[in-house]
Symmetry: C2
Subunit: 342 residues, 2 copies
Amino acid sequence: MSSLFLDTLRGRRGGRVPVWFMRQAGRFLPEYRRIRERVGDFFELCRNVELAVEVTYLPVRLLEVDAAILFSDLLVPLLPLRSMEVNLKEGVGPLIELKEPLDSPKKLLHSYCVEEELGFVGAIVRGFKREHPDVPLIGFCGAPFTLLSYIVEGGSSKSYHRTKRLMFERPSLFRDLCDRLVDLLVDYAVMQVSSGVDAFQVFDSWAGVLSPSDYRSFIFEPTRVLIEKIKATGVPVIYFSTGTCGCLKVIRDYPADAVSVDWRVELADAIDVLGSHRVIQGNLDPSALFMPRERLKERAEGILLQGTRAKAHVFNLGHGIFPDTDPDRVRWLVEVVHHFTP
Amino acid sequence: MSSLFLDTLRGRRGGRVPVWFMRQAGRFLPEYRRIRERVGDFFELCRNVELAVEVTYLPVRLLEVDAAILFSDLLVPLLPLRSMEVNLKEGVGPLIELKEPLDSPKKLLHSYCVEEELGFVGAIVRGFKREHPDVPLIGFCGAPFTLLSYIVEGGSSKSYHRTKRLMFERPSLFRDLCDRLVDLLVDYAVMQVSSGVDAFQVFDSWAGVLSPSDYRSFIFEPTRVLIEKIKATGVPVIYFSTGTCGCLKVIRDYPADAVSVDWRVELADAIDVLGSHRVIQGNLDPSALFMPRERLKERAEGILLQGTRAKAHVFNLGHGIFPDTDPDRVRWLVEVVHHFTP
């Protein structure tokens, strides 16, 4: 399919800059909260094909963003694993309890049939594309470091010290675990693509806790393989991370079509490192949605202006929208982006 | 006084690179844990002049680091405030409960007599310098953003969204709060210097959650004033922050003698931005102390080699030592640094 969003990801500048938001189908939307209340459990909603299609479409209808992202969670590919219990606690985040030791990667991350176990994800993708064939749909999965960090820490963390400790103390085990995760994630991503997603984002939300040299030594290669194999399916791939300003020289070497950066770096500085042949995505601080309108407009236009230095630019936040954000402000920001002319 | 550490901070390269560690007098030392158990409450230990002097000296005696840092806590200058209750919960961190609303800065951050309320800090400094006149002693305080974030969040946070929301929604209140904090912090720092500290570090541990442009607009000026006023007392000042790779162009403009950076940026890249006229401090990942010795040595020497590009270099971690660290490994690292010749 062709669309402003997909053309931009492929490096073609259209008349305007496309925009979508991380966590755009989330708790800040009252329409989402109502659906979520009806279902109760978060993962139940992820498994409910009809409602997940509806939720995926919500921000396109309400905010007029240029792309939808599959309603799901980074942890979904861990749900079929008998070796761990995965829960999401409201206001706390993921909680993972291991039933197998970390040092048996094949037991911990055993193979499973993705169509059988996670067929609902494929069904959501097909359902969405049937109802909304003209809306570009982004599929996604976690990057090996980020997903492994949830497993090692038993959830999220401030320092990710346990994950790094494992990486430093038992580097070959760490590599085996990453490689096993990549195997599972490739199957999962391929299923999303064959079900119909038009683009794919790899979320490396916590890679920013690594030094550039550890990033290069420990996680570059498995992440590169994951990106390469998703790219081989034919869809454009976005690599997303946060706090990785100092690692951009490494990230530059990924075969990703676009690189998403967060607000901790000036977009222009990121483009200087990544190269002007690269499509860039980003990079508004989600907290900036609480600025007065005029200041927010100025900030967004500053980002858009810097974005003109890249091959092409997809406007986005640097991380997910906070639940206390005013949907009107988000809708208004979409208009600001759409009306921008450099 | 003169010492390798102080000479280095003043930009003179000695025969070797001095080293100290953030949180070097902490839970990773069994000697510290024994003292702490005797006292119980953490702030009680901060107030116990004799024991605090002993704890401050522990890492000099046990690890042979080149400087001691006052045993205390960033939250100590908040303890005399009647407007808040400050606690430290083991394994969780600080918990702050406000009894006055944020929007009355003069009530929330009322003036107090620092010699009367925090005289124990001066006594620790004097006690230490009396017992160990040849050991350089570093005083410290939090930077306005970092300290304010504890107050606004009620402790530490992952996103610091509440603090940023306040900053964006009520910028003039945010500035007033920062200015009030600077007033308190200057008094506190001046007392430390007049009691005898030889150098001073300003901890801006959480400034890395800001975009470079918000860093410049909102926190540069109050932080600059704080640094300038401490510097006016005659001691060299180190500005410490983490995750601020993208803000180094702003940080460059501080009148600080040295800038401490974390492992998220290559030291050489940081020096490129900060300028080779600057003293640099850093930047080993504290988790890297779990690497096998040979790899750790290689890593430390890589950092030391990059440090030769700066005017002078103080070796340190990018943040505090983790409690599960092996003291033998830390002592060994001190030797590695001391034996390094470029």
